[in-house]
Every structure is written in structure tokens, then in C-alpha cells.
């Protein structure tokens, strides 16, 4: 009686059927699409001979873990370079180009610099927690990679509560930020810690609620089935093209930007106000971990946004995982674009925006999805559009003080 770990059963890799399918396939988009899975099967095939059955299962898990362990830091490094290059270009200057051909080796140079920097621990800091905090921040950032569907059947762990897992794990970063700010015993980091906790919590609720319409329409929490739900008609079926999907996407993306403390909402480490927020007292490798966690968060959150709203790895002819990376990097470009243009929002405005504006908007969005679900084709498009526009208009009227007021300037002779 072989009681398997539930997510094991959903593993397509080991089931014999897919191995048979590979042999007679001529070279086509399909194989290019499944390039990684075929590679994995070959490795499994090779190791399968001399390893017992349970070990084969172990190696398949190890392979996907190693793939993620390589992918995570690698994307992080090249995201830093991408960010500096893009912001540089926006400001009419060339990004880093001294190290390597177009600055391609710059991340390695940064990495080495981070490693060699001396690791200062403030005198009366709480040594244990000071050491633990960076680990606690990177842990969720890596855990979350497991649930994202990179390609056709390239999800590391296909949990049927995938989405909920994502949200639960990403909410634990609040505690890690608290540990960091509390243990370094300095006023600036304490302020940063308080701000970031408040921001994390108040932006988590709109994020979760903006995801609920997708679950309602896709019918399940597992990321793979959500992507399947958007697969018909080659992209027209993406959730983002429905009115509630588009609004949900915008709200989700705003909350994602707020979750990983970037651009208009980067209060916790607002450079100009409280020096560097909760990671003021960190240096060297620990600071690199914070940095890595932030970038991996932004990668995974935009990956999730792609999965939920932009039809994961759906795409006309390119292999699936190329589509996924294209869309994710497009979203990351938008995040960097935010960072290049927008000034920072103040703490109370940040909270006001979350509670008074985004939250009611997501609730309205939920209602409209229900309306969409039960009405027939022509009525629902028009109806939901009108309802959403109405909700948006009412909310802007309610938050009078946020909308900029007109100013008239007269001239004296």
C-alpha cells in the first residue's frame, strides 16, 4: 500500500507514459518546448539503472531543486544589472559598462565586493536575531519559487493549494523584517521596521482579494490549472482581457510592488528619510542576502502576476518557458520603470491608498466577477465595464484630499 505524498501523484515526470512519448518525437517546437523535461528524463533514465526506486524519486526532486537554486540567484544578479542599465538609459546615461563587455560581469563584481566587505554587528545588537534575520528573509523568497509554473509541465511542486501557499509564505517576510529592525537597536531601523510591517499587512489584503476573482473563474487554487483555464483561443482567453481581470491585474501589480518594497512604496528603506531602513546595520554578505531577497521577491511576484492574469506560459509559437520569461521580464521592466520615475509616497498616504482605495476597489471587483459569472455574453461585458467605472469614480470622489487640487498663479508687475 503505497501512500504517496499527495503532490507526488501529480508529478508527470516519473509516470511511464511520458517517457514513452519522447522516443518517437521528431525535432519540433514541442521538443524545444519540453527541452528541460526531456533533459530531466535523460538524467533520470541514466541514474534509474543503478539507484533503487525511492532514490529515483529523490533525484527527480533534487534536479528541480537544483534548477531553482541556480535560477534564483542567477536571475537576482542579472536583475540588478538590468535595473541599473534601464534606469541609466532612462536618465540618458549609459549603465555600468566597465566590467565585462556591456557590464555583463558587473553582478559578479558586486557579488565579490559584497563577500569581501567586513561584516559589522552593532555592539549591543541582539546577536542571535541579527544573524537569523537575513536567513528568514531569503527563505520565503526561495520557497515561493516552487509554486510558479515556468513552462508547460515545469512546475516544481504542483500543490493543489499552490496560490494559497504563495500568499502564506510571502506573508512571513513581515516577521523577518521585524527581526532585522528590532535586533539592530537603532532608531532609524526601528522606524523602518514599523513602517514596513504596516505596509506589508495593509497591502496583503488587497493582494489576496484581487486574486480571488481569478480563483473563482479558474475554479481551483493550483497554479497549473489557472494557466490551463486561460489557454483557449491563443491568448484571447487571458484573464487580463476581461474588465475585472484588468482591474485585478492593476491592483495585484500595485500590491506586488508594495510587497517587495519597491519604487513608489519603498518606504521601509526610503533612502532620503531614514537612511536605509531596516537593513541599516547590515553589511557584507548579510546585506547581499537582503538585496537578493528583494529582487527574488520582485521576480516571483511578477511571475505570479503573469501566471494569474497574463496566461502563464501561453503563447502562439515560441516554446512555453520563453513566453513565461518574456512576460515576467516585461513586468519587471515596468517595476524598474516605476522606480525610475515616481517619487515616494508618504506613510499615511500609503495606508490611506491601501485601505480607503484599493480594498473597496477589490471588493467591487469581486462583485463584478460574480455578475460576470452568471450573466450571458453581451450583457456581462458592458455591465461589468459600467459597474467598474462607477466604482472607480465613486472612490476617487470619496478620497477628495488625495486628488491634486488645481492651483492658480497670478503675476505682479
Amino acid at each position: 500500500m503505497d501512500t504517496r505524498f499527495p503532490s507526488e501523484k501529480a508529478y508527470p515526470f516519473d509516470s511511464e507514459s511520458s517517457v514513452g512519448m519522447k522516443t518517437e518525437k521528431i525535432f519540433s517546437m514541442q521538443t524545444l518546448d519540453q527541452i528541460f523535461i526531456i533533459a530531466k528524463k535523460i538524467i533520470l533514465g541514466v541514474t534509474g539503472h543503478f539507484l533503487p526506486d525511492w532514490a529515483c524519486l529523490l533525484t527527480s526532486i533534487l534536479i528541480s531543486i537544483s534548477a531553482i537554486a541556480v535560477l534564483g540567484p542567477f536571475t537576482m544578479m542579472y536583475l540588478t544589472l538590468l535595473e541599473r542599465k534601464v534606469i541609466g538609459r532612462m536618465q540618458n546615461r549609459i549603465g555600468p559598462n566597465r566590467v565585462g563587455k556591456w557590464g555583463l560581469l558587473q553582478p559578479f563584481a558586486d557579488g565579490i565586493k559584497m563577500l569581501t566587505k567586513e561584516d559589522i554587528v552593532p555592539l549591543e545588537a541582539d546577536k542571535v536575531i541579527h544573524f537569523l534575520a537575513p536567513l528568514f528573509i531569503v527563505m520565503p523568497a526561495l520557497l515561493v519559487f516552487a509554486v510558479i509554473p515556468f513552462g508547460r509541465n515545469m512546475t516544481a511542486v504542483d500543490l493543489n493549494v499552490g496560490l494559497l501557499f504563495f500568499i502564506a509564505v510571502s506573508s512571513t517576510t513581515t516577521i523577518a523584517i521585524f527581526m532585522a529592525s528590532w535586533s539592530s537597536r537603532n532608531k532609524f531601523s526601528l522606524l523602518g521596521g514599523m513602517r514596513s510591517a504596516a505596509q506589508m499587512i495593509s497591502y496583503e489584503i488587497p493582494m489576496v482579494l484581487s486574486v480571488v476573482p481569478v480563483i473563482m473563474m479558474a475554479g481551483s487554487l493550483s497554479t497549473n490549472s489557472i494557466v490551463e483555464a486561460q489557454s483557449r483561443w491563443h491568448g484571447l482567453k487571458w484573464f487580463v482581457f476581461t474588465p475585472w481581470g484588468f482591474l485585478g491585474f492593476i491592483i495585484f501589480f500595485l500590491c506586488a510592488v508594495a510587497e517587495c518594497n519597491r519604487s513608489p512604496f519603498d518606504l521601509p528603506e526610503g533612502e532620503s528619510e531614514i537612511v536605509a531602513g531596516f537593513h541599516t546595520e547590515y553589511s557584507g554578505m548579510k546585506f547581499a542576502l537582503f538585496y537578493m531577497a528583494e529582487f527574488m521577491n520582485s521576480f516571483t511576484l511578477s511571475g505570479l502576476a503573469v501566471t494569474l492574469f497574463l496566461g502563464g506560459w501561453q503563447g502562439p509559437f515560441l516554446p512555453s518557458w520563453i513566453w513565461f520569461f518574456l512576460k515576467t521580464y516585461a513586468l519587471i521592466f515596468v517595476m524598474i520603470w516605476f522606480r525610475g520615475t515616481l517619487p515616494r509616497v508618504r506613510v499615511d498616504q500609503l495606508m490611506g491608498l491601501a485601505w480607503k482605495f484599493l480594498l473597496p476597489l477589490t471588493l467591487a471587483n469581486l462583485l463584478v466577477t460574480g455578475f460576470w459569472y452568471f450573466t450571458s455574453r453581451p450583457v456581462r461585458i458592458a455591465g461589468s465595464m459600467v459597474l467598474l467605472a462607477l466604482a472607480f469614480w465613486i472612490l476617487t470622489k470619496l478620497n477628495r484630499d488625495v486628488v491634486p487640487e488645481k492651483r492658480v498663479y497670478h503675476f505682479a508687475e
Binding site: P6, D126, I129, N160, A168, I175, K187
Partner: protein, 156 residues
Amino acid sequence: MGISLIAGVATVTLPNIFHATLSLVAALLGIAGIYLILHAEFLAVIQVLLYVGAVVTLIIFAIMLTEGISNKTIAQRNKLGPAAVGGAVVFLAALWGVIRSTPWPIQGGTSENSYATLASLAGSLLGDYIFPFEVISVILIAVLIGAIVIAKKDSV
């Protein structure tokens, strides 16, 4: 299993309240692991989300406001230490005795086919348990308002 036990003991004994909270977090994560072993994934994820995400943050907020920045760790144990330990041990022995003796209906392991899928869980939650679901939501709102009223500053 082991982790949660050790973390549980740590939660209770550690002098510095912040360390105690962190060990509580460890204990909760351990318990979530146990739920996974029991194939109750949904519950494990909810446990992580609710407890570790919200409740512990609430506790940390409380610590932040009450402890102030430079907190001195004062002795956390009061007088009735030894008596409590004795009582607890006796109580534990009694419990274990009961557990070991009573014949549980299914001595074997957990039967494989009967784990609850997410869909069935949701079905029953909104199906025959609809009433407690509504009551819980009312209670939560009442708690929400109550907590705010109590904690509100008098002056402002």
C-alpha cells in the same frame, strides 16, 4: 514533531520575550509540518498564513509598544515555579496513561483513501456548516471593533 516540542519548551522558558515569540513561530511551523504529514494541506497553509503571518505580527506589535526600545530583561518567572512543574508532570503522566490504555477504533495507520480534498472541505464548510461560518464572521467583526475601542488613545 521534535522541533515543535523543543520550540514549545523554548517559548515557555526563554527570558527575552522577543526570543520567546520567535520560538513560538518555530513551534507553529512545526505544527504546520505535522498537518502536512496528516495530508491536511489546506489547514497547514492556513495555519502558516494566519498564525505566522498575522497573529505573531500582532504580538510583535504589542511587544514593540510595551517594551520600548531599550528593554531590560527582568526575571520572567514568578514564585510558583516548582509547584507548576510538579503539577504539569503529574498531569502529563495521567494523560499518557489514558492514551496508552484506551483501545482506539482503528489501531492501524491512517486509512489512505479518506483524506479530505480541498473541494470537499469547501463544500462542507459552506454546505452543512454554513451556520457556524456566519456566526464566526459576526464574532470576528465584534472582536475587531472591540479591540479598536479598547486600544484607542483616550486623548485623541
